[in-house]
Amino acid sequence: MEEGLKIELGKQGVFVTTIEELYNWGRRSSIWPMQFGLACCAIEMIATTMARYDLARFGAEVFRPSPRQADLMIISGTVTKKMAPQVVRLYNQMAEPKYVIAMGACAISGGPFKQGYNVLKGIDRYIPVDVHIPGCPPRPEALIQAFMTLQKKIDGQNLTGEGRPRHLDAEAQGEFPVPVQGEHDLEPSSNRLVWPLPMKTGIRD
């Protein structure tokens, strides 16, 4: 056994570690996505669940239509400004713990349609995104790979302590305000709590 791990175990107690492992294993092995498609990527998402790629192998074919029973929201496609409030509301209505995969260029950044007046330039302006998959649309394998990335991420989460994920932290915010459709644009145009301005200028150093 690794030395660091031992110390960690000593600190947390084996009990918590076991529970944590079980908890993470349960969460990661049973991720039910929400039946939620937006655009082109939704077709690839459907293709992922179909015979050739079969997302069911991971126990994730249980697409729940109701957000109450879903764990994972796959933002599969362009989020328009008309749709964004609904997406945020649905995300809010999901039960914790919940994860978001931004599938495809449009969901991450507006993608090819980012020049449009009605296109939200990335869903992570309003809700926290766990995994981004680039691609337009990403191949089904890419979605499976993202799904595995998400599983890895869940595996790495602690049950207690500072590094614990948002849903285990009583202090962390649980509500993500729904933007309002204004006369010209969505208001506000981003949620500062999940989307702090990365940089002031547009140029990467």
């Binding site: 349960g26 049973s30 039946q35 126990g59 109450r68 914790e96």
Partner: protein, 391 residues
Amino acid sequence: MLETLDQVFVLLQHWLVGFLPAVLQPVAGVLLSVVVIIVLFPALFALTTVLERKGLGRIQNRIGPNRVGPFGILQPVADGIKSLTKEDIVPLSADAAVHFLAPVLLVVAVFMGFAVLPMGRNMVLVDMDAGLLFFFAMGASTELSVFMAGWSSRNKYSLLGAMRAVAQMISYEVVLLMSSVAVVMISGSLSLTKIVEAQNQYTWGLPHWYIFTPWGLAGFVMFAIAATAETNRSPFDLPEGESELVAGYHTEYSGFKFALFFLGEYLAMFSISGLGTTLFLGGWSAPFSFLGWVPSWIWFFSKLLLSICVFIWLRGTLPRLRQDQLMNFAWKFVLPMTLLNLMVTALWRFLGEGWERWVFCSAILMLAYVAMGRIGMRSGHIGPRRYRYAE
């Protein structure tokens, strides 16, 4: 030896109980049986969910869950842990108390049904004189819990789903009752144990299962249809018809409450399959007299699993009916057929032992089935079509 294997659970129970003082022995015996029921069927539920997901997968040319645990058999465990640790959401405007009670009531009502099912020779929790009536009385309470779930959520889809579910369940409950009456008429008892024993006889090595009689077959078909509808399984899964009603009456349920609904649905499937097995498929009796040495409980559970496989198969194949068609089907086709079947059953008894009763009863039922099917299709203006091509 084989006798021992057949009674292995009974003996095991006696042996275990034997360690206790004599006063406590009966109580402990009951407790033990109850624990077995409480553990066994949820375990079967877990198994069935994997079976269903893998079976559906195979039907659809794919593998199905195979990563969680060996061959994916730990999938339900993971689902359970996930559901257990999931946040429980109760909408603010919902009726919290009823919202909470509905899934619990469902599970309790469904569990109670298992009390009278004979799962093997001498393997029944309670052998009551009015066992069948008890079973239906318990089944009737599930409707109420479904209604409670839908109503208390205060969600339009839930309420609509619940109303549909209740309407559907009451309609098919009549059929269920009436098709069982036929069996009772011949076996002369409401006790399920006696009904099985009545079927546990062989002529030329073949069993006297009621499904092998004309009225029994018809009754079984009607019973199977009604059972599918009663458990809200495809093609009668309208209440949770997700294509229009999102998730039906449990739209607003999350976390383990939702899991309880899921559990309840599957347990209802087991209990109704168990009843069907008991009434028509000879319960725990062997299909051929020479297979009599195989322990009785194996037969019961294999028949149960077989009927569950049929449920899965149907689900993998059929689209779902519409509400009005479902109701019409229940009241205008299945119920008349079942009532007719009652008469035919009476006729069966009065026609004596000869071959005539086979011919007559089969002919009546067959004719009625074909005629009613024709009339139904024609009055609904449905049927195969021919198509023309331009030029």
